[in-house]
Symmetry: C2
Subunit: 352 residues, 2 copies
């Protein structure tokens, strides 16, 4: 999926509620020719997001095609409503893309391939509907092979959902490569998969295969790189999603952990009657749970300070976070991940 010329659908949600669109724009190799948002049509991406390549924001796929002089390979669905359903107001744009010979890439729970109309139209025009959240049908249980991969493995783990594990993972890979470390990103969620152009959507696999679906990716990549950075999911004390977190921890058998947290978060996002435990408890739980399968230590911290007022306050929050963990820490968005890579390298990880 990488190196394509793409249009990203983000109707009524660009940029603040278009997490997938922004992830692809920030970290993907795709060439983004236009963003679809009927609310902000006429603006430019740079009016809203300063740190990505500019592109026009337009109201429809036909406008996007005109703006790109017809040079578009794919339409990406860059937003996800609660529940991951397909919004019928997008259908005209999706059909226009298919009719223009474009693939359509989606991370929705609603599978485009199971929509009879869209599937028939795609068939007629010879394009692919790519449902990145549909697991491969050859996944199976873990064999324990992750322990033997040649590369060092680092896993981002969180105090909660939506604290920035994917962003931290991608920034760690970028910062490690800057230092000459042969690092690769291992995606586990739909946005990560869209960015990387491959990967298993761990939260959608059969629960018995959770660890196995991670292992399969590590075994595939393990001989080709010195450092694999696995995108974590959820949190080990999340009332709904901890199974996914635990399966990734034991499936990846990481050599080091990077603990990710959002400054100021005190309760589980969306489950506010459940308080987050102290940071030290997370360290004990993640390390204690990892140890019987494969010893692993928290080697660095990533703090998401997007809700912190200014750079000084953010730097203070990062300093406190580092002190609490007793490791290097950074906000990978404000600071880059160089200090996080310090922690990884200090632990002896990432060498050839």
């Amino acid at each position: 999926m990488t190196d394509e010329r793409i249009v990203i659908l983000a109707h009524e949600k660009f940029p603040d509620r278009a997490k997938t669109a922004l992830g692809v724009m920030r970290y993907g190799d795709q060439d983004v020719r236009a963003v679809l948002d009927r609310d902000t049509a006429g603006d430019s991406v740079s009016d809203h997001v300063p740190d990505v390549a500019d592109a026009p924001v337009v109201a429809s796929f036909d406008d996007a095609l005109a703006a790109a002089d017809g040079d578009v390979d794919a339409l990406y669905i860059g937003i996800s409503p609660i529940g991951g359903e397909f919004d019928e107001s997008w259908r005209d744009d999706v059909e226009a893309a298919i009719e223009a010979g474009c693939d359509v890439v989606s991370g929705l729970h609603y599978f485009l391939n199971e929509d009879a109309e869209l599937a028939a139209l795609a068939d007629e025009h010879g394009v692919d509907l790519v449902d990145v959240r549909e697991p491969a049908d050859d996944l199976t249980v873990a064999s324990g092979a992750s322990r033997d991969v040649a590369a060092d493995v680092v896993l981002t783990v969180g105090t909660d959902c939506s604290v920035g594990k994917m962003t931290a993972s991608l920034e760690i890979v970028a910062a490690a490569r800057e230092r000459g470390i042969d690092a690769a990103f291992v995606p586990t969620g739909q946005t990560g998969i869209m960015i990387a152009g491959w990967g298993n959507p761990i939260d959608r696999v059969v629960s018995d295969f959770t660890a196995g679906a991670v292992e399969e990716m590590l075994v595939e990549l393990g001989d080709d790189h010195d450092l694999l950075v696995v995108e974590g999911q959820g949190s080990i004390v999340h009332p709904a999603y901890s199974a996914v977190t635990c399966g990734i921890l034991h499936g990846a058998m990481p050599d080091g952990l990077v603990l990710c947290h959002a400054a100021g978060r005190e309760a589980v996002h969306g489950y506010e009657s459940f308080s987050l435990p102290p940071l030290a408890d997370y360290v004990d739980l993640y390390e204690g749970l990892a140890a019987p399968v494969n010893e692993s230590r928290v080697v660095a911290g990533a703090l998401n300070t997007k809700d912190v007022a200014d750079d000084t306050a953010a730097a203070n929050a990062v300093g406190e976070f580092a002190d609490a963990l007793g490791t290097p820490a950074a906000d990978p968005v404000r600071d880059g991940a160089d200090r996080i890579v310090d922690g990884i390298v200090d632990a002896g990880l990432g060498a050839e």
Copy 2:
């Protein structure tokens, strides 16, 4: 599925490798009219298994039907080859059962309903093919509602797979009922579901829905009983299956845990390069992981002593296990679960 007159297929595996058959015979309410095993045909069940209702062992479904004077409601697949595949040598018996108007109940990974021949034949004869391992399609993520169920909840947790969590759960329910406690069994695996006649096969649900599929069962039963005993799966440090274990722990939000272990087990079954950690580590891990979502303590232990030579050695092993946990313990098969229920009641659980 309960109260049916059934025949159990266990070709070439009865009784020692027919775990599902034995579970249904020991704990189900079904009336077992015959067992199919072409290797031991001509014997009686009582020649091999002393503690269940007797029945003839026969070579084919037609023989079973004759032995039961035609009074059979269903054929149960009572064995599961490695991988959960369908053995083609069973097809004649399954077809004979369908043609005789019997439902067929299976816990295989291979879904009978996806076998075009069997599905067509079942349709023709108006019988049901019941794939207990196929999850309901309305499962979703947990909401956190398990914390609010009226009943007290006990979860059996293990040091490994195949240590007797299902058996312990069923024996606890039986012993609790003996004392007048209104207890119910909450099945999470295929044999438990066949015995109980309902339940979600947790290891086959989408990983994101692991906790939610447990919660859905507890919410359904929670107001109707004083004690719910949830069948645990796997182990929290299993290299392949810990995701399922963790999802059940947080989905059930138990008030008490019963730690299940097999005497003499030192390494993960089938993953022998992974050693089991000390018992005290399991207690810390299960309690530590439960606490941030819902406080829970190990209140009793269940030790499987089937590989221990005699009753004296088994009693010693149970005594040592109880000492290590600092709680009451028993082998629920040798001793019954009365001492385990002591631990549950001592913790204040199971009262109206």
